[in-house]
């Protein structure tokens, strides 16, 4: 099973001829992902190590039946690339681009919501998604992810941070705990996919038995997740929130990670998750240890 992507997912890469797109697109293919096409306007007919390039997403979809898109283009081009994928009927769009203006993100999200409700956007500014052994879209190093086992228990991971996602994957692998899907939703102010979206999917995925959530300071996404967990999630969870010591008013690298007006503090988020029955660790290792205890008791 897994969520959002699996062995049947056919991926096209918007920007496959660029540095990032080529590097990660080919790595994703090497992992076993079905990378069926690349899209770069004006370069139709070329290929990148055997992957055919098309001028438009529409023509690539028509020729290959691609169902997902991996966008690795500069910030100026990302909003239009997302909308082009949506217009071509792509159901799942992963945008790793860092540095997209917040006004563009808000406009793109509202446009998808109004005109293309069947398209799910992951990102921008996210590491991507991996369903170990099945499909890897984005920049995650596939080899650090443990394969899920047939009878479980397997863990689903959802995270706002890239490197902390890898940290979690790695620690679970060292403890021989399988992963169903690991989703990096990204650290920007208007992520296309939220914690709540992922939690809902994990809750109904038979291959996922427990969930790790990694949040950070800023916004109210973790508090909203806590509210959702209380009413909708029955699977056991552990969590970690980065930024306990972050000073107010300073953006900590991610555009969304800022404590302002006393809102969005790590402590507030930890308290909310605790009240929802989530076991909260004080560092990423502790969150994974707590998950190991949960798994051991299953």
């Amino acid at each position: 099973m897994a969520i959002f992507v699996n062995e049947k997912t056919k991926v096209l890469v918007q920007g496959l001829t660029g540095g990032q797109g080529r590097f990660h697109g080919l790595r994703n293919r090497d992992y076993g992902t079905q990378v069926v096409a690349g899209v770069t306007p004006g370069k139709a007919g070329q290929d990148v190590e055997g992957i055919k390039i098309y001028d438009t997403v529409e023509s690539a979809v028509a020729a290959t039946g691609a169902t997902a898109s991996f966008i690795a283009v500069p910030p100026k081009a990302a909003p239009e690339a997302i909308l082009e994928a949506a217009r071509a009927g792509i159901g799942f769009v992963v945008c790793i681009t860092e540095g997209v203006p917040a006004q563009d993100e808000a406009r793109v999200f509202a446009t998808l919501q109004r005109d293309f409700p069947k398209t799910r956007l992951l990102g921008p500014n996210c590491p991507g998604i991996i369903s170990p052994g099945k499909c890897n879209i984005g920049i995650t190093a596939g080899e650090i992810a443990a394969l899920p086992t047939a009878k479980g228990p397997n863990v689903g991971i959802v995270s706002r941070s890239g490197t902390l996602t890898y940290q979690a994957l790695y620690e679970l692998k060292q403890r021989n705990i399988g992963v169903s899907t690991c989703v990096g939703i990204g650290g920007d102010p208007v992520p296309g996919t939220s914690f709540v979206d992922c939690l809902a999917e994990f809750q109904s995925d038979p291959e996922t038995h427990a969930i790790i959530m990694i949040g950070e300071i800023g916004g109210a996404a973790e508090e909203e997740a806590a509210e959702f967990i209380m009413t909708h999630v029955t699977k056991p969870m552990s969590a970690y929130i980065a930024g306990v010591t972050a000073p107010a008013g300073k953006k900590m690298g991610h555009a969304g990670a800022i404590v302002s007006g006393g809102k969005g503090t790590a402590q507030g988020k930890m308290d909310a998750l605790n009240s929802a029955g989530v076991k909260v660790g004080l560092n990423p290792t502790e969150a994974c240890e707590l998950m190991a205890q949960i798994i051991a008791s299953m």
Partner: protein, 383 residues
């Protein structure tokens, strides 16, 4: 990037939002010259990015050149909550009939733009929100549809803005929304938005935060960059394109990824230490970036130990290790490094560090984040 009031007003003026005639001054003589241009009476306002200027004596009325001299002399150089006043804004004093509040931000939960409007202006809006929450009208605006004049008029009526000011305020809201969206602001706030006795509506203050990600389409922002108040370490980091924030502890931090860097700060704190900075060197973590990062950390006299926390995903541990060994040979560091290397090829990386034969007084390798934090804090001393 946060703008000073005078820059915010200049930015507003680009979008046809009415502001008072005035100018910025760095010296007492310049303040007098600006006052003559603006016509007396004038208000002299300290330009600092912190609230409570008025209470601190940073805003004064002057009726003639002598008064301007007196006040400008007092205000320039004044310390307001650890912000030193380097500039004053001198503008023609406005007659005020009524004061309102208006702002646009992005509501991240709703994924919509948010207008906040109140007939109670000139006071802290957070205070109004606590004592009289119904006095603030909140209106979500769909970013695709934008703010229509009709919607603005309804918000103005809902906020119980005086009838004589309603048309003016509604028109002002549409312009402010334009500034917020086309101008790529994270925040565009007017407090107070005033009604003059002659019926004109006018922005008496300006608080603007710009979205750094949109700088590529705003060449006009370059002049704001020049006045941005960064400490020495932050300026150096910006030159090197590193994500750096200066803090006041003694453990220098370098990590790859914003989340991991934040987490590193947390772990250092957890074991009783205090970080000197936040520094995210991003995904690459090659020798060049590592050198630049170490140079920035090295410029901070408070640093007593340097904690390098790298998790190898696509970044390979052996490459990171090679880079660090190279840097240690090239740069003379003020403090020992504690490195935690984990993830892809971490074992090979640790072997490279061990084989380099660097003294423990210069480089210590630890295999987990927590152990590394303990070592770094032990060297730097507890907070």
């Amino acid at each position: 990037m946060d703008l000073f009031e005078y820059q915010g007003k200049q930015y507003f003026a680009r979008y046809d939002i009415a502001v008072s005639a005035g100018g910025v001054a760095l010296t007492v003589d310049e303040a007098v010259a600006q006052a003559e241009l603006a016509k007396y009476p004038v208000v002299i306002k300290a330009q600092v990015q912190v609230g409570g200027r008025g209470k601190a004596g940073g805003i004064k009325l002057a009726n003639n050149a002598d008064e301007v001299r007196l006040h400008a002399k007092n205000i320039l150089g004044m310390n307001i909550k650890n912000h030193i006043v380097k500039r004053v804004w001198v503008e023609h004093a406005s007659d005020i009939a009524e004061e309102y509040y208006a702002s646009f931000t992005l509501d991240r939960s709703a994924k919509r733009h948010l207008l906040m409007l109140s007939a109670q202006g000139g006071v802290e809006i957070e205070h109004v929100a606590v004592v009289d929450p119904t006095a603030i009208v909140k209106l979500h605006v769909n970013p695709v549809e934008g703010l229509t004049l009709d919607a603005a008029k309804r918000a103005v009526v809902d906020a119980r803005i005086s009838e004589k000011a309603q048309d003016g305020v509604a028109a002002m809201l549409v312009k402010l929304y334009e500034c917020f969206t086309k101008g790529d602001c994270d925040l565009a706030e007017i407090n107070p938005l005033i009604l003059k006795p002659n019926g004109e509506v006018h922005a008496l203050d300006a608080k603007v935060t710009l979205d750094d990600n949109a700088a590529f389409r705003h060449p006009e922002w370059d002049e704001y960059r020049a006045t941005e108040e960064l400490d020495e370490r932050e300026s150096l980091a910006r030159e090197k394109n590193l994500q750096y924030i200066g803090l006041d502890g003694s453990v220098g931090i370098i990590a790859n990824g914003a989340g991991l860097a934040m987490s590193t700060l947390d772990v250092v704190n957890q074991v009783g230490g205090k970080a000197a900075n936040f520094l995210d060197i991003g995904g690459g973590a090659n020798a060049e970036l590592m050198t630049a990062a170490l140079e920035v950390i090295n410029s901070d006299a408070k640093v007593k130990s340097i904690f390098i926390n790298i998790f190898g995903g696509i970044t390979r541990g052996d490459e990171v290790a090679k880079g660090i060994v190279e840097v240690i040979k090239r740069v003379k560091l003020r403090a020992p490094i504690v490195i935690r290397l984990d993830g892809t090829n971490a074992t090979e990386g640790r072997a490279i560090i061990a084989a380099a034969g660097i003294a423990e007084s210069q480089l210590i390798s630890r295999s987990t984040m927590l152990e590394a934090a303990r070592s770094a804090v032990e060297i730097a001393g507890k907070k």
